[in-house]
């Protein structure tokens, strides 16, 4: 016997059950992720949205790791899940306030490797759960213009000159391994780590994200911002 209406009903029920369990699982992972974050990460990272008035220079100096309360805008899921299992340093002077790891020597100021600490690693299941939760943290939708950036072409040499000489980004950031400033995060991995919308928004107005950001606001309009991002797209391809 063939019952088309019964089969349709069965399919609908099966799909609904699948959807229910998928959503429940995701919610459970996200809840577990929050607990894991609170237990293991909140000593070094700001996880809950703080009062803006508390984001002082002293808070920045005391900070041990980057704030995570806007992680959902900032990070790419695949990168985050992988990095949490295999963490490695992204900012050569450490993830905290740069001067905490720098010493004065006769040759000039240098990073003291003894002052840098390694980030803890988690297992795959924990990484997925933490990522699920972090990606829900999106408190600044007004700062993000969804889908605003379309990758474009830029001649590599000119773009490198723009990054290093004209915009001066290289003073704080590296655009290749071993070359560039050490107090900002490396940028040759930026397009794998960060969402393009966040990169554009942060360049446009760093202090809107972090009131005591140490990144200057160069008052760039969209075209020069996208030009820099096109360069980031070129250099990310150099990664093995």
């Amino acid at each position: 016997m063939h019952y088309p209406r019964y089969n349709t009903l069965k399919r609908t029920v099966t799909f609904s059950l699948f959807l229910f369990f998928a959503v429940s699982l995701s919610a459970a992972e996200s809840a577990d992720g929050k607990q894991l974050l609170m237990d293991s990460c909140s000593n070094c990272h700001q996880i809950d949205m703080p009062n803006k008035a508390s984001l002082t220079l002293q808070e920045k100096i005391n900070r041990k790791g980057p704030p995570l309360y806007f992680a959902g805008h900032k990070y790419q899921q695949a990168w985050l899940e992988n990095w949490l299992q295999h963490p490695r340093r992204i900012t050569p002077s450490g993830g905290n306030y740069w001067a905490n790891a720098v010493v004065v020597t006769d040759e000039g100021d240098e990073i003291d490797e003894n002052k840098l600490t390694a980030h803890i690693a988690v297992n795959q299941q924990q990484a997925i759960a933490i990522t699920q939760y972090l990606l829900t943290l999106k408190p600044f939708p007004d700062l993000i213009r969804e889908g605003e950036y379309t990758p474009g072409k830029v001649p590599r040499m000119l773009a490198a000159k723009d990054f290093r000489k004209f915009k001066g980004c290289v003073a704080c950031h590296r655009d290749e391994e071993g070359f560039g400033g050490v107090t900002g995060p490396e940028l040759y991995t930026a397009m794998k780590r960060l969402t393009p919308e966040y990169i554009a928004s942060y360049i446009r107005n760093p202090t809107a994200w972090e009131p005591r950001s140490l990144m200057p606001n160069s008052h760039l309009n969209d075209a020069p911002i996208y030009k820099l991002m096109n360069y980031l797209n070129i250099i990310v391809e150099d990664l093995p």
Binding site: L57, Y97, A99, V102, G108, D109, F166, V170, S213, N217
Partner: protein
């Protein structure tokens, strides 16, 4: 009625003065030294000698702020302009960024006082 008006005026004046004082107040405990260390020392060095941890791979050497001769050749207005609007505004390197989005005028003046201390008064 007059006394009500007077009380209302006094109250409004008090609220206005309080608002102005809060607006003009710098972040508690902030000093020229702490601002200099956070925003300037990355390139200019923790001691201000131009050998900051970021100075190694850039084309133009950061200014040595302990050089009294160089620093005395610059007025406070020159320094203010360079800090607020960047190196280009005083015909210097664009590698010196504009800090107008990060520092208010009061904070820039605190940094200038600190610069005068490290260049010419032997202070760190």
């Amino acid at each position: 009625m007059n006394s009500v008006n007077r009380i209302t005026s006094f109250f409004l004046l008090a609220v206005t003065l309080y608002s102005l004082s809060v607006t003009a107040q710098a972040e508690s405990g902030i000093t020229g030294k702490s601002l200099y260390q956070a925003y300037c020392s990355q390139c200019h060095g923790l001691y201000g000698d131009g050998f900051g941890v970021n100075s190694y791979d850039i084309d133009v050497a950061p200014r040595d702020h302990t050089d009294a001769g160089e620093m005395n050749a610059r007025t406070n207005e020159d320094l203010f302009k360079a800090i607020k609007f960047g190196g280009k505004s005083v015909n210097k390197s664009p590698l010196m960024p504009n800090w107008d989005g990060n520092l208010d005028d009061q904070e820039i003046n605190l940094i200038i006082k600190h610069l005068r201390k490290i260049c010419c008064e032997g202070g760190q």
